[in-house]
Symmetry: C3
Subunit: 206 residues, 3 copies
């Protein structure tokens, strides 16, 4: 029953673990926003901070392994970019809660929850794609969906900011909320980068 695990398995496995970190962090973020209170923000954000920290260590592990491995399952650069973009998604979610604390946000808008939910959907698609990296041709649908979600987030965020400028006359509120919306929307851009890298890997191995 002894089985040789080829090197690439370890990379696959590491990326799956990282995608799980991303999904867990996105779920924690949606939960924080849906039941928001400034008093509990710091305590609740601890999970997101832990996931970001664990993700950071894993990113370093992937890059260390990459630097020590002669033969990799995919192009070295793709592995490097994939690890970096997943790390970016984790950073952006932690950055969002950090900014909410920094701006002493008292009440969350439904608009921020809307964007967070798109980030969660994108994260789940990434995790599904990562689960199919052994049969890479099966990931195409997930990549298409991640691209669609990015377009949706882009459009929705522009409408949200347009409303913000129409309805708020307080420039300081505009500065804070514009940044929160744009910052969290960036996470869907990074998810799209992940999808594009996966598509590239798929094509190279077609």
């Amino acid at each position: 029953m002894w089985r040789i695990i080829p090197k690439e398995e370890k990379f696959f496995n590491m990326f799956q673990v990282q995608a799980d970190h991303v999904v867990k962090s996105a779920r924690a973020l949606v939960e924080i926003l849906e039941n928001y209170s400034i008093e509990t923000l710091d305590a609740k954000a601890a999970e997101i901070r832990t996931l970001e920290h664990e993700g950071d260590i894993l990113t370093h592990d992937i890059i260390r392994k990459l630097n020590q491995t002669f033969v990799t399952p995919f192009d070295r650069e793709d592995i490097y970019s994939l690890a970096s973009r997943l790390d970016d998604v984790l950073d952006l979610m932690e950055g969002t809660v950090n900014r909410m604390k920094m701006y002493k946000i008292q009440k969350v808008t439904p608009e921020l929850i809307t964007i967070a939910k798109i980030v969660l959907q994108s994260s789940e698609e990434i995790a599904r794609a990562m689960g199919k990296m052994h049969e890479i041709s099966h990931i195409a649908d997930h990549c298409i969906e991640i691209n669609r979600l990015e377009n949706e987030a882009d459009l929705v965020t522009r409408q949200i900011i347009a409303h913000l400028f129409e309805n708020s006359k307080d420039p300081i509120e505009i500065i804070k909320w514009k940044e929160l919306y744009e910052y969290l929307e960036l996470a869907t851009d990074k998810c799209e980068d992940v999808a594009n890298i996966l598509e590239g890997i798929m094509l190279k191995n077609a």
Copy 2:
């Protein structure tokens, strides 16, 4: 009369088509700004959106071809970066009209037209350089001019924003216009990136 078209020809040709998209979009942008009205913005912006969309498809085609080609005329990475930066220029021009709509801009400032005209000049230099990629040593002058235009845009934009802060006392107006100026100016940075990649290609093939 039968002629073998080497693979690289297709890359050259694709980049020329993409540079044409960029020039057409920059021309459309200048035209929109010079004859601006919020009522016609959406209809007029359609051309820029179409060019961005066609550019997007072409970028994907270039990268797909790159992933399926063993021998490329230049370094794979240079082709990838070149395609990505040209795509960025198209995105930034579309993003500018999107932001004008988002901010319900009623009247365009001459300052925004000034920046748009520098973007147009840079785009035209890129198209000229792309037309000479078979004899890559001839592109140096265009690259120098693109670098000069980026410096000019940088300086001009700083002066424009300095005036904005001096002359406007409305913070919400400042937020909107500062972003529009800076955002469009970014297009000249991406043009400079294109020039630098072309220069690198030139040196490697010297």
Copy 3:
């Protein structure tokens, strides 16, 4: 007494010179801020502008040499990234003084000096690491310290901006200072990128 200087020596040497530019610029910036007056800003900023300009030429020289060298001491990409990120640090310091002029800053806050001093510390660590590139295993401690300084800058900047929003009720002041703080803090991010590239080189050569 005749000695062959291998090619890599020239790269080592160029990076050391560039790191010196960075340290000198950071020192000049701290000096400008500690003895600030809007009247002398332009004259005093000349040194930072000169260092940025010399750094620009050196960056081009490194990339030119890279494009003409078949065998490099490290991966080509690492050399390219290292040159680009050091160039970014110089750009960000020049950009900071440019923005102070643009915003007609009359009086510097102690908070901006705090961030500038962290940038200076990071720069000095980079210079120390660069001095040990022949024995690359010795640079680890410097890289760890640069990462620590980036975390510190991140946390400090968030506290500074939180205070800015609490204590200032003038949105235009908030826009100016928020940008200055965040912009200069970016320099520590680029220093961290430098450290990460150096760590990667170290691992590949372990």
